[in-house]
Symmetry: none
Subunit: 172 residues, 2 copies
């Protein structure tokens, strides 16, 4: 039974490792070369492979100068949102338009690079460098400067949320 317990521990550990590795985390900045190519961070590529994404789908964020990138299950999330809307209203139609029409497929070349098309550049303002931001089940592509600005705003909002807690308290 010691052996059994050991094996069970092993299985549990493997599951935890899988869970650990299969989400997009952290952020990195990469340079775009003369041909418009940019390396996707190796860690992200590993996650892509682990999740079995054969193709990457990039979607223009509705209210941000960024692209959401992930597998096709990325669409599920947006379609859920559309489903919440009244199908007779304009909103649902607009959402569908953005979701299905404002996306593109990204192809990884042999060296793990993608090409920054004008479609992406126009929406994001990306020119010389690209920031990759992990978001758990997907990741985002930003122009580094805009990312910094938005990140500061997001932090400010979260800090305001915390004002509701007792002063000096640090929720873990």
């Amino acid at each position: 039974m010691a052996a059994r317990a050991k094996r069970w521990r092993g299985v549990r550990r493997r599951k935890r490792l899988q869970r650990l590795m299969d989400r997009f985390l952290s952020n990195t900045v990469s340079r775009i070369d003369a041909k418009g190519r940019v390396s996707v961070p190796a860690h992200f590529r590993a996650v892509v492979q682990k999740r079995g994404y054969s193709e990457l789908y990039a979607l223009r964020c509705l209210d941000l100068p960024a692209m959401d990138v992930g597998g096709l299950d990325l669409l599920d999330r947006y379609e859920q949102r559309i489903a919440l809307e009244d199908p007779f209203l304009q909103t649902a139609d607009d959402m569908s338009f953005f979701c299905h029409g404002d996306g593109t497929f990204l192809k990884l070349d042999q060296d793990g690079r993608i090409t920054m098309s004008d479609f992406i550049r126009e929406h994001t303002g990306i020119s010389a460098e690209v920031a990759f931001v992990g978001r758990g089940n997907f990741f985002q592509i930003w122009e580094p400067g805009r990312l910094a600005a938005y990140g500061a705003q997001a932090r400010a909002r979260l800090l305001q949320l915390r004002q509701g807690t007792k002063p000096g308290e640090r929720p873990e």
Copy 2:
């Protein structure tokens, strides 16, 4: 016999670990070497091992120039918290942006060292030395000077609180 000696050492080490606390306590300052590596204090590594953390999750603190470092459970708690929010509202997005985009994994090398990436240096101001601060279920990474300044502020706040209490009373 070399193997036997090694195993015996291992046994003794494990016994010592049993006596050790299960929490991250006290603080230490370590130097960063030319390659950007820094040794995690041995007693912290012991806690990491005891808790079964296979990899460390590091998060940029919301309002401090420091990193919170802990196991997967740290990230789990954030994600569970996010799950309570309406996924299509700003708050959920901000939270994910924070814990996924501003978080990363740290890998201990074989000698128990981690490398200080720019990701960490930018947020903490760390350059030549690192202060490790135990916080119970996790620990923090600071630039030593900023840690001292923050400690002084915290102490001052506590003093002010105490002056608000009745004279002669000793709040504990």
